[in-house]
Every structure is written in structure tokens, then in C-alpha cells.
């Protein structure tokens, strides 16, 4: 079975697409309004859930407003409108537990069926009485339920786009590995002067460039949802686009020579040089300035609660699957190039 890795690649690709699209998100809170309240008032808010089934178990619902890590008040009544809408009422105490004039409180809703869901900064409570004391703010959050079935975490703003982790990130991982293979083949060409390695290097570079462009496109679609625009001239976006220019220049360079040995040799030299500059463009420079991209400019990267074990079970196979699939594409490209070369050589000798 010398084709085992191609089968593995296809299997992992299909798995990551089916599992990555098919597995639902955990129930979460999508919106809560109004977002302003005063101390001492009876406050009723309208919470909109995503994928929640409030109407299935209306009696098991509990809700809290949480301020900081230590203080919370429980809801005094919860009315279920339909499967995704709740009316939650709170009697807000006359005083705030902290000295701030305005505090932000998170809305937490727990249900037996949906597990618990958090909506950060749901309400801003203004202290109209100017009193500071923890009275009335008892932390009664306990016995939280977990969502039982297989699901990905629900995050505000990210929502369904959290699945982009299975496609966008593996494309960039795969691109780096494929460019590395391309640079290694260029090195072997310079050592051996065997045209075979040059064809391999250019095939891998083509697939790497394709992966990079797809990575830019998937990133842009994700950015439209989370950052508000396809292209926000973020440093990470700019540097990735420039990295693609580096490799497009490689193809222009290769095509600017008539003699194939010279084109291969100079192309190989530039390919290695380009690969060395790639980490600077993608990893060093985005650290210098502010960036919206996860993992840069103080933003959390993947890890923590954004990447739970369910996601890991799709994310890591996706990296391997995309890389193997790319390598397969490159071997096909290489063989086409190799056959072309042989036909040319035969025509030359006849």
C-alpha cells in the first residue's frame, strides 16, 4: 500500500469537513436588552438564546447577573416566551458591591437541558444611590449543568465562525509545511543538479501559494463576520498578502529565463531565500504593531476556552489532512511537469 497517505489525507479531509460543519454549537445567549439598569429598580430584560430550547424545560431555568468574580444576584422570575426568548426579571439592590459608578454585569442562564450559558457585559448598572456595600449581592451560583451532547463552544461575536479554525488555520499550517518541502527540494536541486527536484520544488510552491490564497480568502470571510470588513488593512492580513507576492515573484522569476537549467538554479536560490523571509513576514512583524488577529496584539490565540477537546478532535486531524492533500496535489503537478519534460526531451532527440 504505497498510497496509504493519500487515502489517509482524503479520509481526514472528509472527516474534518463533515465533523467541522456537522457538529452543532453549544446553546448560547445571542442578545440581551435593554443593556442599561439602575440600582434599586425592578429590572426586566429580554434574553435571546441561540440553539436553546427554553420551552422544553421551563421550570428548570435559573438566571443570574454577575458582577466581577464574587458578586451575583439571582433572577426573581423567569418567563419563557418561546424556545429562544426569555423574560428575566431581577430586583437590583440599592447598592453596588464595588466603588465604581457603573459596573458591567454578565448574564448567566442555566438550564438542565441546555447547560449554562454566559453573555458577558449584558447590562451596565448605574449606581444612583451612591452606596457601596455587598449587601444583597450574594453569590448563589452553584450546581451548574453541563451541555451533555457533543458540541463546539459558543462564543459571542465568533458564533458559528468558530468553525473557521478547522479550515483557515490548517490551510496556513499546511502552507508552511508545503513551502518547507519546496525549499528542501530546491536545496536538493542545488546539491544534485537533478531537474526532478526542481520540478518538485515548483510543484510544492504552487500548491503552497494556492493554500496561502485560500487562507487569505477564508480569513477575509471570517473577518467580515467578526471584524466587520473583508479587508481591514490589519497587519496580519497585509503581511500574508505580501508573503503571497514573494511567491508570485518566484513564478515570474522562473518564467523569465529561457534556459531551463538557469531558470531552475536561480529559482531554487530565490525559493530558499524567500522561505527564510516567510517567518519574518508572518510571525515577527505582526508582533510589532497592533493587530486584530487572534494570537497577535494581545489577543488570545487558540487555546483556553476557545479550543476545547471537541474542537481539538477536528482541528488536529484537519491539519494533517490538509497537508497530506496538498502534498498529493503537488505530486500530481510534479508528475505532469515531469511527463512534459520527457516529451520535450524525446522530441528534441528525434
Amino acid at each position: 500500500m504505497k498510497h496509504w497517505w493519500k487515502i489517509l489525507g482524503i479520509f481526514l479531509m472528509i472527516y474534518s469537513i463533515v465533523a467541522g460543519i456537522g457538529i452543532p454549537l453549544k446553546p448560547g445567549i445571542y442578545d440581551a436588552s435593554p443593556s442599561k439598569a439602575n440600582t434599586g429598580e425592578q429590572f426586566t430584560m429580554n434574553a435571546v438564546g441561540y440553539l436553546t430550547q427554553f420551552d422544553k424545560t421551563p421550570d428548570d431555568l435559573r438566571a443570574w447577573l454577575k458582577v466581577g468574580n464574587d458578586f451575583a444576584i439571582a433572577a426573581n422570575s423567569i418567563g419563557v416566551k418561546n424556545e429562544s426568548t426569555l423574560n428575566v426579571s431581577f430586583q437590583i439592590p440599592n447598592n453596588l458591591p464595588t466603588k465604581d459608578r457603573v459596573v458591567d454585569a454578565s448574564l448567566i442562564i442555566d438550564s438542565k437541558k441546555n447547560g449554562y450559558a454566559i453573555f458577558p457585559s449584558a447590562v451596565f448598572i448605574t449606581n444612583t444611590t451612591q452606596q457601596t456595600s455587598p449587601e444583597g449581592w450574594n453569590n448563589s451560583i452553584a450546581d451548574m449543568h453541563e451541555f451533555k451532547s457533543m458540541a463546539f463552544p459558543y462564543r459571542n461575536i465568533l458564533q458559528e465562525t468558530i468553525r473557521n479554525l478547522f479550515y483557515h488555520v490548517p490551510l496556513w499550517f499546511g502552507m508552511m509545511i508545503i513551502f518547507l518541502i519546496s525549499a528542501i527540494n530546491s536545496g536538493r536541486f542545488l546539491m544534485t543538479k537533478n531537474q526532478k527536484f526542481d520540478h518538485k520544488a515548483s510543484a510544492y510552491a504552487s500548491v503552497g501559494t494556492l493554500f496561502g490564497i485560500l487562507g487569505l480568502v477564508t480569513g477575509a470571510i471570517w473577518a467580515k463576520h467578526t471584524w466587520g470588513a473583508y479587508w481591514s488593512w490589519d497587519i496580519k492580513q497585509n503581511m500574508s498578502a505580501i508573503a503571497m507576492l514573494v511567491y508570485l515573484a518566484y513564478f515570474v522569476l522562473r518564467n523569465s529565463f529561457e534556459e531551463s537549467e538557469q531558470s531552475a538554479r536561480i529559482g531554487a536560490v530565490y525559493n530558499i531565500f524567500a522561505f527564510v523571509t516567510l517567518p519574518m513576514l508572518l510571525f515577527v512583524i505582526p508582533r510589532l504593531t497592533d493587530s486584530l488577529h487572534p494570537g497577535n496584539g494581545g489577543n488570545p490565540g487558540f487555546g483556553g476556552e476557545d479550543l476545547d477537546n471537541n474542537m481539538r478532535m477536528v482541528f488536529y486531524p484537519a491539519i494533517i489532512g490538509f497537508t497530506l492533500f496538498g502534498a498529493w496535489m503537488a505530486t500530481i503537478l510534479y508528475r505532469i511537469e515531469d511527463v512534459k519534460q520527457r516529451i520535450e526531451d524525446r522530441a528534441f532527440y528525434e
Binding site: L253, I266, Y270, F273, M280, I285
Partner: protein, 219 residues
């Protein structure tokens, strides 16, 4: 000839050639002056941010023009002559050292012209000279190596630009970031980090250029 004498003679040769065809050098210097005048007349009062970015962009274009000829200018026969005599490392190193010196002159002239015409907003002068030095070195290393690649092709002027501009961007971004510090536009006490990044980039590029040049030069 041992390695260092080879480098010494090659650099000496570069200086003699430059002196014989003075129009090339004076052309570059006039280029800098003319662009500084254009910048000044289009801005009249140059704001600090514009000062910073236009300064480095002028240096960028002037260095591409100055360095592009370093391999393209060599005739085929003379190249053949070097190849039979010299060590490839001596050839590329001497070009890099010579181009660094040339770029340092160019940077200083550009700085002087900017200060004279558009004002001098630099607050941390010592840091700015260090940045000029590191920038000149980085530009020289990258452009010298790329010009060695581009010189092999017929349409070398286009290739020089498309090959070198994407690769120079990490250096250029770090430089603009650092010199914004020297201009007092941003207060970043951790700028030594950026300086170390710049030195690391320069060293990596020199290393790669030295490893790859022997494969490049012999046709």
C-alpha cells in the same frame, strides 16, 4: 591572495570604478535631493508621520537604484575574470560592504537634506543614527543579493523591484517603527527588542546570501 586581501582589493576596485564613472554616484545624490524637494513642495509643512514614512520610502527607492547596478553593471567578461580569480564569498561580501558604505552616505545625505528643507523632528539623535546604520546594512544586504539574482535575467529592472520589495518589507516596517520612536511619535521603552529583531534579520539574510551565492554566480 587570501580572503581578506581579496575583499580589500574588490572594495578598492568598486571605489575606483565609482570614481571613474562619477555620473552614477552624482545621479543618485541628485535623485535624493530632487525627491526631497518634491516631498517638501507637495507637503509644504511636513507632519512627523509623513516625515518618517517619506524619509524611508525615499531611501528605499534611492537604494534600489543605487544597488541595482552592482551586479548588472558588471560586464560578462569581467565577471568571468573574477570567477577564475576570486572566492565567491569575497565577491558578495565586498559588494555588500561597499554598498553599505554607499547607502550610509546616501542615508546621511538624505537626512541632511530633509533636516535642511523639511525640518528635523528627530528627538533621539543617537538612536536615529543607529537606525540609519542598521537600515543601510539591511537594505544593502537584501538588495545586493537580489541584484545578483536579477542580473541573470534580461528584464532585470522589473525583476529587481518585484523580487526585492516584498522581501524588504519586514526590514522597512521595523525601521519605520523604530524611527517613529526616535522621532518621539510613540513612546516605546522596549525598542531594544526591535533593534535586536533588525540585527537578527540582517544576520539571517547575510547568512542565507553567503550560503546561496556560490550556486548563483557561475553560469
Amino acid at each position: 591572495m587570501n580572503f581578506s586581501t581579496q575583499i580589500f582589493h574588490l572594495i578598492k576596485k568598486e571605489f575606483i570604478l565609482e570614481w571613474r564613472q562619477r555620473y552614477a554616484l552624482s545621479g543618485i545624490l541628485l535623485y535624493v535631493l530632487a525627491t526631497v524637494f518634491i516631498v517638501y513642495s507637495s507637503f509644504v509643512r511636513v507632519p512627523d508621520t509623513a516625515w518618517n514614512s517619506t524619509f524611508w520610502i525615499i531611501i528605499l527607492f534611492a537604494s534600489v537604484n543605487a544597488i541595482a547596478k552592482s551586479f548588472i553593471g558588471e560586464s560578462g567578461n569581467r565577471t568571468l575574470y573574477y570567477y577564475s580569480l576570486m572566492n565567491p564569498y569575497a565577491v558578495i561580501l565586498s559588494k555588500m560592504i561597499y554598498n553599505t558604505l554607499l547607502l550610509l552616505i546616501l542615508c546621511l545625505l538624505c537626512y541632511a537634506a530633509f533636516s535642511f528643507i523639511a525640518g528635523n523632528p528627530v528627538q533621539n539623535t543617537g538612536l536615529f543614527y543607529l537606525i540609519l546604520f542598521l537600515g543601510g546594512t539591511g537594505f544593502s544586504i537584501t538588495f545586493t543579493f537580489i541584484s545578483a539574482i536579477a542580473a541573470k535575467s534580461k528584464n532585470n529592472a522589473t525583476l529587481m523591484a518585484i523580487l526585492s520589495f516584498p522581501i524588504i518589507i519586514p526590514i522597512l516596517m521595523t525601521l519605520i517603527n523604530l524611527s517613529a520612536n526616535a522621532l518621539g511619535m510613540i513612546k516605546n521603552t522596549a525598542y531594544t527588542n526591535d533593534i535586536l529583531i533588525l540585527i537578527a534579520i540582517d544576520l539571517i539574510l547575510v547568512g542565507m546570501a553567503l550560503i546561496l551565492f556560490p550556486f548563483l554566480w557561475r553560469d
